[in-house]
């Protein structure tokens, strides 16, 4: 890979770390250990269920919040503070900057998720005293959560390339919520006709499909995730992120800096 993209990505990661983003891990650890101890006490045969449901939901929500809050500032903050001037006056192409930022943020989230995943498995071990085969599916759910982060980061970056941080946050969050109900939306589009049906279909193709990436309750019940879904979701998330990033590049290429 282009070394400048790597440098920019690393600097983005370093910035997030120094801005104490990883401190969220403390809150996560407290939440999870509290819950593990609590369900361990009441013990009504659902410890594993609760730990997986709560743990994975927290991983997803914490990560999405981080992705949105850092992502929306990635480009616009650098334009506002004019830190970009001295970067773009070097042999750095604008697309390299956008792509580097994306990798930096997703890298941050992957590291963050790694530690959270460790926490989830420790909590599982604490309540169940051993690992079972079905715990492997929890890894798949975590992988899907990371895919979800890729898409949220790409979207935040896309909005950040032309809009203010506040508006970008609103747009990204709205898409996150709608995307979490994407399958309902697609179902709705299928049973609606006429103009509304057309619009619903178009929207259903554009919004990110987060519902297919959410297999938390499924794996909490120990159900398997079909291999084909893993494949399709991976390709889908990569393509969706690519789509948002290339949109961001197209916009940013033309952007006059303040």
């Amino acid at each position: 890979m282009n070394s400048r993209i790597g440098y920019i990505a690393f600097n983005t990661f370093r910035e997030a770390v120094r801005d104490r983003v990883l401190y969220n891990l403390i809150a996560f650890a407290l939440l999870l250990s509290g819950a593990a101890i609590l369900v361990g006490e009441i013990s009504i045969d659902i410890e594993r269920l609760v730990v997986v449901n709560l743990g994975l939901t927290a991983v997803s929500l914490f990560g999405v919040v981080i992705a949105i809050f850092i992502g929306i500032g990635l480009v616009s903050k650098e334009i506002d503070k004019r830190t970009l001037y001295t970067v773009l006056s070097r042999p750095v192409r604008r697309w390299e900057f956008v792509v580097g930022k994306f990798f930096g943020l997703t890298g941050t989230l992957v590291v963050n998720t790694f530690f959270m995943a460790l926490g989830v498995f420790l909590a599982l071990l604490y309540v169940a005293h051993k690992f079972e085969k079905m715990d492997g599916w929890v890894l798949v759910a975590l992988y899907f959560i990371v895919l979800q982060f890729l898409m949220v980061c790409a979207l935040a970056l896309f909005f950040s390339s032309f809009s203010t941080p506040l508006m970008s946050a609103v747009f990204t969050f709205a898409l996150f919520v709608i995307g979490s109900l994407a399958e309902d939306l697609r179902g709705f589009a299928r049973i609606t006709h006429g103009l509304a049906g057309w619009i619903a279909t178009a929207v259903a193709y554009v919004v990110p499909n987060f519902s297919a990436l959410n297999v938390i309750s499924q794996v909490a019940h120990g159900d398997a995730v079909p291999g084909r879904l893993i494949l399709y979701n991976s390709v889908y998330a990569l393509l969706y992120s690519t789509m948002a990033i290339s949109g961001a590049v197209l916009i940013f290429q033309r952007r006059n800096l303040k």
Binding site: Y7, I8, Y85, V87, L88, S89, R90
Partner: protein, 327 residues
């Protein structure tokens, strides 16, 4: 080869929230800067200096026109490794220390890892920041940031350096150091294009200056010419209500104000002029050599456009750049 060739660059911004209208920030600008030159871009606030520099750095895109830097197109990435840029009131990643920032910028400029940190230390020393090199930039004062900005602009040993108001925000010592630094760059054979609204800096450092006002290049001239041309004249002030005929025939430019006359004559005509006064029994008030300066030239160029055009008509100094002056 010309270091910078600006070919009718023009920029207008859209302003207003609901009803957008065009605001002309830079009228078509044509200007050529030779390699090895130190060029001062002079103009009051809002003249269009920063806009010009941002256009050249590819940070904003021109409404019309093009420019070539070191013979290459503006969007040619090759160009950027030969160019250094200090923005106006620079701001940097404040989570980094000065050392880390310079290292990062060195990486982005494609400096080989070998020798990079040595070069970084050298630059830190050159701008007097060796002591605070490990401090995060968020703890830096404005003047210190300006120094970091200078260091990053020359870090990768560029052929061509753009500096936007390099002296602003600095204490007198700092200004001094920046002057020395630009002097050194000149001695190293670099091309320096810097903007300023402070005349003395331009006068002290530049080979040539361009004067820009309201987005329009009003004049370009060599500093040596500008200051020497009016040298060798004297100003004679005496009591009189009219200008004596003898004086006009000596080639004096005279002006009556009240009961006084202000006359400027060439130095070699000084004695003849005094002789005229003596003959007419006019009382002399003062006789001083004229110290013309960049300032006069500057003020003259800032006059409303028509007056400026008149002045330019008998001004042979910027003949070669007449076209570029946006007449």
């Amino acid at each position: 080869m010309a270091a910078i060739e600006i070919l009718d660059l023009e920029k207008s911004y859209l302003v207003g929230f609901w009803r957008k209208r065009q605001k002309l920030a830079l009228r078509p600008l044509r200007l050529t800067i030779e390699e090895g030159e130190v060029f001062g871009f002079l103009g009051p606030n809002g003249a269009g200096k920063t806009t010009t520099l941002k256009l050249l750095m590819g940070l904003v895109f021109p409404t019309a026109g093009t420019a070539r830097i070191l013979g290459k197109n503006l969007d040619d990435p090759e160009v950027k490794s030969q160019v250094g840029f200090l923005p106006e009131q620079p701001y940097f990643y404040d989570h980094l220390s000065a050392r880390e920032l310079l290292n990062y910028y060195g990486q982005l400029s494609g400096m080989p890892a070998k020798g990079r940190s040595a070069r970084v230390e050298q630059m830190l020393a050159r701008v007097g920041l060796s002591d605070s090199a490990g401090l995060q930039l968020r703890k830096f004062s404005k003047g210190m940031l300006q120094r970091v900005g200078l260091a990053q602009a020359i870090l990768h040993d560029p052929k061509l350096v753009f500096l936007d108001e390099p002296m602003s925000g600095l204490d007198p010592m700092g200004r001094r150091e920046v002057r020395d630094l630009i002097q050194q760059l000149r001695n190293e054979g670099k091309t320096v294009f810097f903007s300023t609204h402070i005349l003395s800096d331009a006068e002290a450092l530049c080979d040539r200056v361009g004067i820009i006002h309201q987005g329009e290049l009003r004049g370009v001239g060599a500093v040596a010419d500008l200051t020497s041309e009016t040298r060798g004249k004297v100003e004679i002030i005496f009591y009189s209500q009219t200008v004596p005929v003898g004086l006009t025939s000596l080639g004096a430019e005279a002006r009556v104000s009240g009961d006084m006359v202000n006359a400027v004559v060439p130095e070699e005509q000084q004695d003849a002029a005094l002789e005229v006064l003596r003959r007419e029994r006019l009382r002399l008030i003062s006789l001083t050599p004229v110290r013309s300066s960049l300032e006069e030239y500057y003020i003259q160029k800032l006059q409303p456009a028509e007056a400026g055009d008149d002045a330019r008509a008998d001004d042979s100094r910027d003949k070669e750049n007449r076209k570029g002056a946006g007449v």
